[in-house]
């Protein structure tokens, strides 16, 4: 078990861990820079960060200011994170440009966030500057991290215990920016929590990660935890994983990584690739945290089959549950335990009932546990017999959503976070099963179904307010199906489905798999007329809809 950052999680403990303690660390940071890993001991990383602070101060960064950043996985961005804090600023992490997302959609996201945040400065790496909308510069000075290198040092004045230190903006489709406001105290508590989940040994672990630093799993789980606890860190990039999915487990083997993290979707792809992998040195990985989306039992089995012969045990897979509102993690499977699951009736589950069935039952769905509450976390009001909204008390809770008091009041009540996620607890284990609202989590991106559906409303022939975008698992990861009621039929269903798919990609940067066209008044609704999105897939998959047409977009 790792030593806490201090007796009680505090700003001073956090800054000490990231500076003074890291200055005596023996481990190093290795950043992928396009064609190789660039290595520097953590003590050098700290010195480089300190040497950026005078330039930042001259650019206006001081206590009480906010700095917007698109954090890409580069050596300069890593140093810049600490540099902004040491110069006194709070760092806001904005979504990185997602492949497939329309340029004007991304520009709109960044402009909206900056209008809310009021940053002193906008920072990113030189290469990302080229793809940022030019209009951004009209609102805020835009600079590269590189432009602050070796600009000199100022005395450190990082944010205090309960001051704003970090704002995590979620990626994905969202009309109103949602930035979780974190204090150093919350971050320090989270790093303690992660360390206890990992059962990590300071100075004795090797982490390998490609997760984006713009995401909470990348930032807190895979960068700050290794930094604060003297882990060796091999920091790859999402782009490298994209072009060479084998590199995730390839790196784990090559560098003898003991700790890693990823998503279910990425694990599925890696496991597919892993069947033919040559992992010469074998795998020493003790903990592979899986988060950001629901973990699929078949993917775990596929991964164990693919990597078991290379030394990876089922116990290494650590399904976890968390969200940016709690800094990162809330629950996680204990390090030495294999993931567990329950086999439930999917139709009953959609109606809010937990009915265990045989694995070969046609309605069977496997729900994987996200483990036990982490250190300092309490789940409130959960039931063993029915899904309820997951409510969390944690030392890592955000202060709320920056600049959005209404949304903060809705979700943060008397120190309890109302997550909007549904789940139940059996034998202490949390089983997340869905959402109260319309948010779909696809490979770490938040997709607001209602926004996509509003865009679909604009398509010719579609009944306004009569579509539902739903996600479901088919063993190969999350598939997205759009149910649409038509004003009149018949129509050119494929052409309409393709236009809908184009909208889904442009608005949410995710691919639609299937479009189901229905007659008027087919979609299930509440007595007040609201579409019951969660019931659509179970009803469809058990033959209780009579579609006009079903277009399988994945089949081409």
């Amino acid at each position: 078990m790792g030593a806490p950052l201090s007796g009680a999680a505090s700003a001073s403990g956090l800054w000490e861990a990231l500076t003074d303690r890291a200055a005596t660390a023996r481990s190093a940071l290795h950043c992928w820079v396009g064609d190789r890993f660039d290595s520097a001991p953590w003590r050098q990383v700290v010195r480089d960060a300190q040497a950026m602070t005078a330039g930042l101060r001259r650019a206006g960064v001081r206590s009480g200011t906010r700095v917007a950043a698109v954090l890409t996985n580069t050596p300069h961005a890593v140093r810049g994170v600490l540099a902004v804090w040491l110069a006194g600023g709070a760092l806001a992490s904005l979504p990185a440009p997602a492949r497939g997302l329309a340029r004007d959609e991304y520009a709109g996201q960044l402009t909206g966030i900056c209008a809310q945040l009021g940053p002193t400065l906008f920072l990113t790496d030189q290469r990302t500057l080229d793809v940022l909308p030019a209009s951004l510069g009209e609102h805020v000075p835009v600079r590269s991290w590189e432009s602050f290198v070796d600009s000199g040092r100022v005395d450190p004045s990082p944010p205090g215990d309960d001051e704003l230190a970090f704002v995590q903006y979620s990626s994905g489709s969202t009309s109103a920016p949602k930035g979780c406001a974190l204090t150093p105290r919350a971050i320090a508590a989270q790093l303690d929590l992660v360390m206890s989940v990992l059962e990590g040994r300071p100075g004795g672990e090797v982490t390998a990660s490609w997760l984006p630093l713009s995401h909470d799993m990348g930032m807190f789980g895979c960068l700050l935890t290794p930094w604060a606890h003297d882990f060796e860190l091999w920091l790859s990039t999402p782009e490298r994983f994209t072009f060479s999915p084998r590199t995730w487990f390839g790196d784990l083997a090559e560098f003898g990584a003991t700790v890693t993290a990823g998503t279910n979707t990425a694990l599925h792809l890696s496991a597919r690739a892993g069947r033919s992998a040559r992992l010469g040195r074998g795998l020493r990985t003790r903990v592979c945290v899986l988060g950001a989306e629901r973990v699929d039992w078949d993917t775990l089995r596929l991964a164990v089959d693919a990597f078991g012969p290379h030394g990876l045990r089922a116990e290494a897979f650590t399904p976890a549950y968390g969200l940016a509102e709690a800094t990162l993690a809330v629950t996680a499977t204990p390090a030495a335990q294999a993931p567990r699951h329950l086999v439930l009736d999917a139709v009953a589950l959609a109606d809010g009932e937990l009915v265990e069935v045989a694995p070969d039952d046609p309605a069977a769905t496997r729900v994987v546990s996200a483990g036990l509450p982490g250190r300092g976390v309490e789940l409130v009001g959960m039931s063993a017999d029915a899904p309820r909204e997951i409510q969390v008390r944690s030392a890592s809770l955000a202060e709320g959503y920056l600049g959005d008091e209404r949304r903060t009041r809705e979700h943060f009540r008397d120190g309890t976070l109302l997550t909007g996620d549904l789940g139940f607890v059996r034998d202490g284990h949390l089983y997340p099963v869905g959402r109260v609202d319309d948010v779909l989590s696809v490979a770490g991106r938040k997709v607001h179904a209602r926004e996509i559906e509003s865009a679909v409303d604009g398509l010719d022939g579609v009944r306004r307010g009569c579509s539902a975008l739903v996600g479901h698992y088919d063993g190969g990861g999350l598939r997205l199906t759009l149910f649409v009621e038509l004003r009149r039929g018949p129509a050119d269903y494929r052409a309409l489905a393709e236009r809908a798919a184009g909208l889904v990609m442009a608005r949410g940067a995710v691919a639609l798999d299937e479009c189901v066209f229905l007659e008027r008044n087919s979609l299930p609704r509440t007595p007040s007329g609201k579409i019951q999105r969660h019931r659509c897939w179970p009803l469809f998959s058990t033959g209780r809809f009579t579609p006009l047409a079903t277009v399988d977009l994945a089949a081409g």
Binding site: E239, F243, G502
Partner: protein, 83 residues
């Protein structure tokens, strides 16, 4: 030999049947303009690797911008693959 046409077919399949933003794909077509998600691109690269029994060099991937670049990356791997 990996051709741009072969990659274009994979792009179309991965686009779930809907039209890519660029209807005529050739070696100069920018990958970013196609409207593929990262995961779709990863699947295309992996499918090429699986079908041709190659592993692309991640150190060369940073320079890939067009379908022609991607075909070139695959063909380099093909040339250096053990026979």
């Amino acid at each position: 030999m990996i051709t741009v046409d072969e990659i274009a077919d994979l792009v179309r399949a991965e686009m779930r049947g809907k039209s890519p933003r660029k209807s005529n794909m050739d070696k100069k077509t920018s990958i970013d303009e196609l409207g593929l998600s990262s995961l779709q691109l990863a699947t295309i690269v992996f499918t090429l690797e699986e079908e041709h029994g190659i592993e692309v060099d991640p150190a060369r991937a940073a320079g890939v911008r067009t379908l022609g670049d991607l075909a070139g990356l695959g063909n380099e791997a093909l040339a250096s693959a053990p026979r």
